[in-house]
Amino acid sequence: MSPTSAAKPDPAHLLERLQEDLDNLSAEVWQMRPLVFEPQWVAQAAVWQAQGRPQLPDTVQPDPDAVVFAGQRLASLLEAALPNDGAGFQGLVRWVQADPVQIFDLIWRDQGGDLLARIRAAKLPEELAVLFAVLLARPFRSWIAQELHAESRLDGWKEGSCPLCGHWPSLSLIADQEEGRRYLWCLHCGTSWRHPRLRCSFCGCTDQAQLLHLHLEERPEFRLEGCRSCKRYVKEFRSTEERANLPWEALFLGTAALDLIAADHGLLRDSPLIGATTRQFPQRTQGPRPVPGDHSPHDHTTSSNPEKNR
């Protein structure tokens, strides 16, 4: 056990509490009814799904004070959960409390580039700041997902990216209770959708020689599925729990060791955190997809084709 956490309670408790806090935060925001659900989104969702486009309606704006409330609660929540190693972290808390609506607006309209620029300007820890922004938008997106998916079905969706918000999956579950079917999960909106096994969720490559599964020797049930052709991977685990009550966020953060293993094997973490800031509609080309670069900052501005990136 690493020295710093020795003093603190066992990390699993920490993560479990963090998970509960996040769930409570979402519930509280939902009760505030920050968004008005328009019925025609359902029809529109079905049409877009058929075209392979994410269903998240774009012309919706949650009311600002709900955002402010979410920002405050999230700041306090992360403060308790994450260890405060000196200045880096405090700066983040102040940055959030200063203007949550501004941050939310950037992440909500997927202006990844601007958000990163502001984070770097404020010299804040990059990844955590983006994580914070994502978690800030999370309750609002998951509310829409909740309402939409009550009506529109997801099984027509064959892409590797999220059917609701179009981002790359953060976790992959093998639901052993359903004969071993695979579900991908999106950190940004909490949606999970069916995706075939033995198939890279990023580039759709089905050449099984290209796929590899790495895991800790003694814990084969937590592994990562990597793809040699597009150099990307997603963390995967098996469970017979209902998808609804799986502690996804805790599992995502808790299996960070797998990210280290991936880095060792030259698999680029197309970081859902960085990726989050740009809503790419993955053009499913059979061949390996151009690698969008890893941590190095690159142009997150919207892709050239406006129509595509609506």
Partner: protein, 187 residues
């Protein structure tokens, strides 16, 4: 599912939150130093089709450095959706079974036991015998009609062969002029 019981956090070596923090680059320096070399293993998964009946169920075979680890039904296969019957379930024992033939064997006329031989020897001898039998019984003409067949050689088999293997077998047998070409479809 409570995480503590699962204990997987502990198993990943360093306190995970520390790692999570490290990986997320919050404190780059701390993250790097805490990096522990993890004993990792690679599991290769590939799909296959059951060799038994004609339903054609899909299976996923996982192997770890060349050794068979597990065979399970393929959940994405539309026909069996991950389920298998008793024979499909036993495929593991077809792949790993000490009763499997592992060497080339030859039985001399009149002998009461097998002798172990090399592949090269066996293939050469078989080719010789095919040639001897074919040349001995080859009938180019039947009266005035050109027939080019040999009735001294019979080829049986292959409902369990792959398509490509069946194609080469058919091509080879017909090129030898074999008319006695049969297999399980007719019995």
């Amino acid at each position: 599912m409570n995480l503590t019981r699962r204990g997987f956090l502990g198993a990943t070596g360093a306190g995970v939150l520390g790692i999570a923090v490290g990986v997320l680059g919050l404190t780059k320096a701390a993250g790097a130093s805490r990096r522990k070399t993890f004993k990792t293993a690679e599991t290769k998964e590939s799909s296959t089709i059951c060799p038994y009946c004609g339903v054609g169920c899909g299976l996923i075979v996982s192997t770890r450095d060349g050794k068979l680890v597990n065979i399970e039904g393929d959940p994405d296969h539309p026909i069996n959706e991950g389920a298998l019957c008793s024979k499909g379930m036993s495929l593991f024992q077809v792949a790993q079974n000490e009763r499997r033939l592992q060497t080339v064997r030859y039985r001399a006329p009149g002998s009461d036991k097998w002798e172990e031989k090399s592949w090269d020897w066996a293939l050469t001898e078989i080719a010789k015998r095919i040639k001897k039998t074919r040349d001995a019984t080859f009938k180019a003409k039947d009266g005035v009609r050109l027939v080019n067949r040999t009735e001294g050689l019979a080829c049986l088999g292959g409902a369990a062969l792959d398509n490509e293997e069946a194609y080469l077998y058919s091509k080879l047998a017909r090129s030898l002029g074999v008319t006695w070409l049969e297999h399980q479809a007719r019995i």
